[in-house]
């Protein structure tokens, strides 16, 4: 039988260029997070189901790869990494003073079928600020998300900021029987505004809140949207959300990212999980949000250490896809030197390789002895900028594209390469 060389559907190999782009993006994200004082933690790929049950909704639990470990416990491969971080904060870090700033990076898995472009293994980099409430903490995390997108090299991006309480307030205020309310929630979660309209049309009482629900996808813009919405809502929860959003917006201007921030009162997210300010980051011409996050003040209490919290994660795969598709996609870094040898030149080649690497260059030393013509062919296959052929201890021949081959002592070649001279 032929082995499945393509791997399991929905899982992919990252080839050298893709792997390089992904790794670079991950490092720039973590570096930006560390600049803001967030400490890197690594949580395992496997978690106990009873831990995940505390933090995940039914749909998310359904999509986990589950199995039993040797002791008969049901465990799962993580589908996101906020819940493991919450477990950490309430467990091993319980003695650490709040607020805590933590960041993480790693793969997450989902059993979702690998449909068109849909992957079952993706990479997320995230940051969590645990133990701080209020607009200053909300704005810090949003500004960090914006700076993170910038750090990866995405040129044009925007952040949409909304508030879960704005929606909860409207749902409290609309006069509808409970079963209609839950149908309204379901229609909104499915982003089905046709269903929403027919549900609301069938009700006798029409309030300004009805109108707001129907206009949900269009409730976005600059600070003026807050006044417009303020004139329409008549409930305290939504009004409080609007005033909090106004404060966050001012703080984001102070953070220097006012021009990339939009207010989006109609953001539709997992409203059972989020309790306050929520946000999404979008890159240019990309059908899905690249970053998403928000305030989740009720999660930590389920682990026995009640604390307000906010955070976000960046979909690393989408970032690298965006960079690959950009006008000037990143290229695989070139190998600086291919070091070939013949006869007694091996020692010289190995020493020269070490020297070049010491200067921070990428150098490949050949594994077999080659004559001049074969060495040139090997050089082109390696794709290096320079070929250094070592035939004796004292002198090596150095070739570089478009110039004649020169014979020099090895230390002179190293010195010239390190000095950027060719």
């Amino acid at each position: 039988m032929t082995p499945q060389l393509g791997g399991v559907p929905g899982f992919r190999d990252l080839l050298p260029l893709e792997a390089e782009i992904l790794r670079e993006a991950q490092e720039s994200l973590l570096a930006e997070m560390r600049r803001w004082g967030y400490r890197h933690v690594i949580t395992p790929l496997v978690e106990n189901m009873d831990v995940l049950d505390l933090g995940l909704g039914i749909e998310q639990r359904r999509r986990l790869f589950k199995f039993t470990d040797g002791r008969g416990d049901v465990v799962a491969l993580v589908g996101e990494r906020t819940v493991p971080v919450a477990r950490l904060v309430a467990g091993k870090l319980r003695a650490a003073a709040l607020p805590l700033r933590l960041c993480y990076a790693g793969p997450v898995l989902s059993t979702d079928e690998g449909r068109f472009q849909q992957r079952r293994e993706t990479y997320q980099v995230g940051a969590e600020l645990v133990g701080a409430s209020g607009p200053v903490a909300d704005a810090e995390v949003i500004a960090l998300a914006a700076r993170c997108m910038e750090a990866t090299g995405i040129r044009r991006y925007q952040i949409d900021v909304g508030h879960a309480e704005f929606f909860h307030g409207i749902m409290d205020a609309v006069k509808l029987p409970d079963e209609v309310k839950s149908a309204v929630r379901a229609a909104l979660a499915a982003r089905d505004f046709v269903a929403l309209e027919s549900l609301l049309e069938g009700t006798p009482l029409k309030s300004a809140e009805h109108e707001l629900l129907l206009r949900f996808p269009a409730l976005r813009g600059g600070p003026e949207i807050l006044d417009a919405a303020g004139g329409l809502v008549r409930n305290r929860r939504s009004e409080a959300a609007l005033s909090e959003l106004a404060q966050v917006r001012d703080l984001l201007v102070a953070h220097g990212i006012g021009d990339v921030v939009n207010l989006d009162l109609g953001a539709i997210r997992d409203f059972d999980y989020y309790t306050g300010v929520i946000f999404e980051g979008y890159g240019p011409d990309f059908g899905r949000p690249v970053a998403q996050g928000g305030r989740y003040d009720s999660l930590l209490s389920r682990f026995g250490r009640p604390a307000p919290a906010t955070g976000f994660m960046v979909q690393l795969d989408l970032v690298s896809e965006m960079l690959t598709r950009s006008a000037r996609p990143p290229a695989l870094p070139r190998i600086d030197a291919a070091v070939a040898w013949t006869g007694s030149g091996l020692d010289t080649a190995l020493r020269l390789g070490s020297t070049l690497r010491l200067f921070g260059m990428r150098a490949v030393v050949d594994t077999e002895s080659r004559g001049v013509a074969e060495a040139k062919a090997w050089w082109h296959a390696v794709g290096a900028a320079n070929l250094i052929h070592c035939r004796s201890k004292a002198v090596v021949s150095w070739s570089t594209q478009g110039q004649r081959t020169r014979s020099l002592p090895p230390e002179q070649v190293a010195a010239r390469l390190a000095g950027g001279l060719s």
């Binding site: 068109f116 982003r191 046709v194 309209e197 996808p217 899905r288």
Partner: protein
């Protein structure tokens, strides 16, 4: 017009094509004939780019941002839920998704369903979900065409299929015993397009919404 100001709309081949083209014309966005679109598949007219794709592919184009907006039957959305916004009932392309059995069959209401119901359909997901919600064991045979034939040759007990007038069903000696749902054409939108290019998308959206209201 750059790609940034232009709004792309995916429209389906088949039964909804003429309705979609009339809507585009009525909204003043683009006057296109089925023939020219059939030849080109992608046409640019001022502020819109119109893309002609198979009906079942419309959600994929929209969900992945290859099209900002899409016109698609609700029947397709039942079968392929995704991350798009479903914004407007365009009120054309009326049809029903029905359970039909041979005229000679003893199957009628739920009480007469066999212990394991076998149905042929192009809508496996919707069909399974509907029967399962009613506690009925079902074996769904996914077919890609001529579903009406399946019960006549004894492959299945009945079919779940889309019908507008019921004529094809009658011609194949099938009768409707249940309606799973009613479908019309819908306008769907990519979640990110509404945010990252909202001015252009909202403008096209409101013209389509207005035109569909006038026609309906």
């Amino acid at each position: 017009m750059t790609r940034d100001d232009q709004v792309s709309i995916a429209i389906p081949t088949g039964a909804l094509l003429n309705g979609a083209l009339s809507l585009l014309a009525a909204s003043g966005l683009a006057r296109l004939t089925a023939e020219e679109l059939g030849r080109q598949l992608l046409l640019e007219r001022g502020e819109v780019r119109v893309i002609l794709v198979r009906p079942s592919d419309v959600p994929a184009y929209v969900d992945h941002g290859a099209a900002d907006l899409g016109i698609v039957g609700k029947d397709i959305l039942w079968e392929t839920p995704g991350s798009h916004y479903e914004l407007v009932d365009l009120r054309f392309g009326d049809c029903r998704l029905v359970l039909a059995v041979p005229d000679s069959s003893t199957v009628d209401g739920p009480d007469t369903w066999p212990p394991l119901m076998r149905v042929a359909t192009k809508y496996p997901r919707t069909s399974s979900a509907w029967f399962e919600a009613r506690g009925q064991a079902v074996e769904v045979v996914r077919l890609h065409g001529s579903v009406e034939l399946a019960p006549q040759v004894g492959l299945v007990d009945g079919i779940v299929d889309l019908t507008a007038t019921g004529r094809t069903l009658r011609e194949n000696k099938l009768r409707i015993t249940a309606v799973l749902g009613s479908s019309t054409a819908r306008l769907i939108a990519n979640q990110a397009s509404l945010k990252t290019r909202s001015a252009a998308v909202q403008s096209v959206l409101s013209r389509l919404r207005e035109a569909s209201g006038r026609a309906g």
